[in-house]
Symmetry: C5
Subunit: 93 residues, 5 copies
């Protein structure tokens, strides 16, 4: 899994029927130093009630993401599976 920050929501009127009713959020990945990755954000299906500004845990496995939102035959490859309260970092590196 990766940690990220929810930065927005996606609205798509034309979509695969199996995506109907999903909440799709854009998530920017958190780098080692806490900054946001300036690469493409992921679009994740929400399974835990996450909102914009929250730090979240995302999975990028297809089967896992489909399971997370209970749509086992839908084309979903990314899901939010946790809201991160705290990251305990040791002195390393």
């Amino acid at each position: 899994m990766l940690m990220g920050k929810v930065i927005g929501e996606i609205v798509a009127s034309e979509k695969h029927p199996s995506h109907e009713g999903l909440k799709l959020l854009t998530v920017a990945v958190l780098e080692l130093d806490g900054s946001l990755r300036v690469d493409a954000p992921f679009v994740a299906a929400d399974s835990v009630g996450a909102g914009v500004g929250e730090r979240v845990l995302i999975t990028l496995d297809g089967f896992g993401a489909m399971s997370a939102v209970d749509r086992n035959l839908a084309p979903i490859d990314c899901a939010i599976v946790g809201i991160v309260d705290e990251i305990q970092l040791a002195d390393t590196p």
Copy 2:
């Protein structure tokens, strides 16, 4: 999933039999700042009637992409599963 912009169409006369009749579009990934990623574009099978210039949602999971275009045993690993109308971005980051 990732967001991208459809930039073209692919024509392949020699292809795997299971690809017959698929519409294959090239999709450049959208970066965090809205620019197009200057890396290899993805070639995606279309499941929603997308066209050149549109912003789309793509999945990169094999099983999901095959399901999206109803070809469960075909070598397909990328599919367009939505046309993005609107990206609501909060003030973050």
Copy 3:
């Protein structure tokens, strides 16, 4: 899928038994501007009779690649599934 250019062939005498008889080609990925990615080339099993110098379509999904060359239990994760005749690019970006 990604587009690439076939740049060579691989000869491996010691190999997994399931790879016996496969034609393995090295494929450099095509970037957005048409140049070849100066990163590691993929080694792909051929399913369409591709040859050196041709632009091809490759899939990077394990199950899909195995299906493409009809070896469902073999350790194959990349296959050539089309020869690209033409890439129609619109004015974007």
Copy 4:
């Protein structure tokens, strides 16, 4: 698999039910020269009793990671599957 160093622990109160009771550790990937990758750390489910500061082996396959922690239907795509005692490096490169 990749080698990494455990750099912290994650606390998530809101999470997918199947994640209940998992120990989630942040793992920075080890580069060829032994430094830590300054990219996003992975969040891995622990299956071997690893702790902060230890060098570990992680798998990034969904099915494998789920198996490693005995939760075959949970959205988990990364697991710690070994603690690295020693890396024997030859003179190459």
Copy 5:
């Protein structure tokens, strides 16, 4: 698949039970120009008797890697499936 060079061996005393007896080798990926990628090396389970200094073919698919070493339920996502004798490169690019 990718081509790489075996650069060392891994010793892990604490490991997932299913990893018992596996030979795990570190493999640096070969770039287009023949140099070694200065990114994280992969840790691959050996299925062909490869040794340090040899150029090898690796697969990065979970199911394929598990099959290659005959451990279908083990958390393994990378395996060496061939020893590369020769890379025939055409004049391209």
